[in-house]
């Protein structure tokens, strides 16, 4: 079968599975729509959380980013896993015991303030929209490359699928589709990784393979040593050594970690399990399933980098294999024969370098570069779609819940019946899908930039407010609100200044303490903690029922 037919087949089958699950798991109450009735088993929630978390960015872009950053890529590897330890130890069990539907629920109740609730709603919606735009774009890219449909058509098909199962099943439908999507995406990620690992090093396990010796046909010697050598030869920094300052790496990693622990679409998943213990356990399962992909990514990165340098450098342009031309057509590979020798020079020096390779194609083109069979390539397409759709669905649910539950039911229209609330939730998801689709078709040029925003905001607003809300009985609404506003204002102005107002000044010499805008959320978080604790000392203690609530959620199983 041709690649085209196989891709249609794999993507078609996976979509059919998602739709079947959606029909089977319709939601009939707000509890089912918001938190899947709190009946999800820890294992299923672990799988769903992993799919929810691993987006198009994790599946398509991450290995490529690591491939270009070398050791500094650890920022993303640790940043996007380390937060689960904080989630499991500091947040998930207690919020599960709190037992309501959303983060703004907790912030609003714990800080006995509609204003605090609205700050939380605003952050949740902003963070989620930022994210979802990127997912829809990912869907479009996969469709246009592998199924050769128009990129906009691809976005529309993706919207249709997400719309169908999110509106029908809410959290319940999303949860069980995500379980299926995890299976698809992890299989699609591992198969080519294992293939390439065997091909290059003879080791079946990619995590060990990239620390092994290369096969004779690849020139022998340890893979990483050889990669370092090639990098030096071409003028790049050694692959296994860092290029950025330790302090910046530390702040950047910490911002991603705290941001992860404060992201609403992740936290909300722990509301769907039946008990506190189940919440702890499912955090462990979730990270285990995430770690399978995240420990494979750096292996793929090293394999791909070696393969790419071996294949392209000094190669004769007219003799390049088919994938090279295919990706050239999408402009993700660009070649400009500056010295007109008909060969490709791929070096660090921008004056001499003739090749541009977009980092996003590392995962997508890797099976082709390594000449793997067609069905593996088709599988990667289905996996990329699963990763993008599963994350998009989780984010859309947060947006819809924020509007129908936090904004309408808990604030503007407390009198509405459950039926009406459910209807509003479905309408809200419909509009959220449309807005997400719009951003997918007309992507704002700053998608990559606003991701720094999403994590910075989550780290500097939600994370301290939630942790203090659980671990400090004395923390009051004045402290928490002042802290959230100080944290957000500081982080946002730093990012806006360097990314939008004065991008030319965005170099390490101008950064405060050498901290990049990506890492500034960590400082924002520290400011939030300091302001909260400071203001709280000079303002009245929280009322007794709030204190009782905090004491309740500290001990598992006590009804609030």
């Amino acid at each position: 079968m041709s690649l085209q037919t196989l891709t249609y087949l794999f993507v078609g089958i996976s979509f059919l599975v998602y739709i079947t699950i959606a029909v089977w798991s319709r939601a009939s109450s707000t509890k089912e729509f918001y938190i899947a009735g709190a009946h999800v088993s820890p294992l299923a929630n672990g799988l769903a959380t992993a799919a929810d978390w691993m987006s198009a960015a994790s599946f398509i872009s991450m290995a490529g980013i690591v491939s270009y950053m070398g050791r500094d890529g650890s920022v993303y590897l640790m940043g996007w896993t380390g937060g689960y330890v904080l989630l499991a130890l500091l947040i998930a069990p207690y919020l599960r015991d709190f037992g309501k539907f959303t983060i703004p629920d907790f912030i609003g109740d714990r800080y006995y303030s509609q204003f605090a609730r609205m700050v939380a709603v605003f952050c949740a919606i902003f963070v989620s929209f930022t994210y979802v735009a990127g997912q829809m774009r990912g869907v479009g890219v996969v469709f246009s490359r592998f199924l050769e449909v128009d990129i906009n058509m691809g976005v529309l098909i993706g919207m249709g699928i997400v719309f169908f199962y999110a509106v029908l099943g809410g959290m319940k439908g999303i949860t069980y589709t995500q379980v299926a999507q995890y299976c698809v995406l992890i299989f699609a990620y591992m198969v080519p990784a294992v293939f390439i690992s065997i091909l290059m090093t003879g080791n079946v396990i990619p995590q060990l393979g990239f620390g092994s010796e290369l096969n004779e046909s690849y020139g022998g010697g340890y893979l990483l040593d050889r990669l370092d050598g090639m990098h030096r030869e071409l003028g790049f920094a050694a692959y296994t050594e860092g290029a950025r300052s330790s302090l910046d790496i530390l702040f950047f990693t910490a911002a991603l970690i705290m941001g992860t622990a404060g992201l609403p679409h992740v936290i909300i998943r722990f509301f769907t399990v039946p008990s506190v213990r189940a919440a702890r356990k499912s955090a462990g399962y979730a990270l285990f399933f995430i770690a399978i992909l995240y420990t494979t990514a750096p292996a793929i990165a090293a394999f791909a980098r070696t393969n790419l340098l071996n294949t392209v450098n000094n190669a004769v342009y007219s003799e390049m294999p088919g994938w090279f031309t295919t990706w050239e057509n999408t402009n993700l590979i660009q070649f400009n024969d500056k010295n007109a020798d008909g060969r490709i020079q791929y070096v660090a020096d921008p004056e001499i370098n003739e090749l541009f390779v977009d980092r996003d194609i590392i995962v997508l083109a890797n099976p082709e570069i390594a000449q793997l069979p067609n069905w593996v390539i088709a599988l990667v397409a289905a996996g990329g779609l699963a990763a993008a759709l599963s994350t998009a669905a989780g984010l859309l649910l947060v947006i819809s819940t924020s509007i129908s539950h936090d904004l309408l039911k808990r604030n503007l229209m407390p009198g509405i019946s459950e039926k009406q609330e459910l209807l509003f939730a479905r309408i809200a998801i419909f509009f959220a899908v449309c807005v997400a689709g719009y951003f997918g078709i007309n992507p704002p040029g700053f998608v990559a930039e606003v991701v720094a925003f999403a994590f910075g905001l989550a780290a500097s607003s939600f994370f301290p407010a939630i942790v203090l809300g659980i671990f400090s009985i004395r923390m009051n609404k004045e402290g928490a609100i002042a802290g959230m506003i100080a944290g957000i204002a500081f982080t946002a102005s730093y990012i806006i200044y360097f990314k939008f107002i004065n991008p030319a000044a965005n170099i390490s010499d101008n950064w405060w303490f050498g901290i990049s805008p990506e890492g500034i959320g960590t400082l924002g978080m520290l400011i939030n903690f300091a302001v909260s604790i400071g203001v709280c000392r000079f303002t009245p203690a929280p009322p007794k029922d709030v204190v009782d609530m905090v004491l309740d959620i500290r001990v598992p199983g006590k009804p609030a």
Binding site: G82, Y222, L223, D225, L250, G284, K558
Partner: protein, 95 residues
């Protein structure tokens, strides 16, 4: 808050302090600050610092959560919260 709940919470905090210290050392000291010093040590094709930053830290995270689960199970059992947890679960299911 009863005396017993107070004790439970103190022990809970102690567990968190131990586990989060390990988490901090692995994430920020071994994988970022002292990564070049660790790189002197090699096993197979890996330098230790590089391996910690791209592999080891993630394995430690997974293990930490499961150790936490075990420690909390023990603590909950000691204070009989495991039963309450189940009872509360049942009452919720019966709603």
């Amino acid at each position: 808050m009863s005396e017993q709940d107070n004790e439970y919470w103190k022990e809970n905090i102690r567990i968190l302090k131990i586990l989060l210290s390990v988490w901090f050392v692995v994430s920020f000291l071994l994988s970022v600050i002292f990564v070049d010093q660790l790189d002197v040590i090699r096993f197979g094709g890996f330098k230790l610092g590089f391996w910690m930053a791209q592999q080891g830290s993630i394995y430690v995270y997974v293990v930490l959560i499961f150790i936490y689960l075990k420690m909390m199970d023990k603590l909950d059992h000691k204070y009989h919260h495991d039963e309450k947890d189940i009872l509360a679960e049942e009452s919720r299911n019966n709603e």
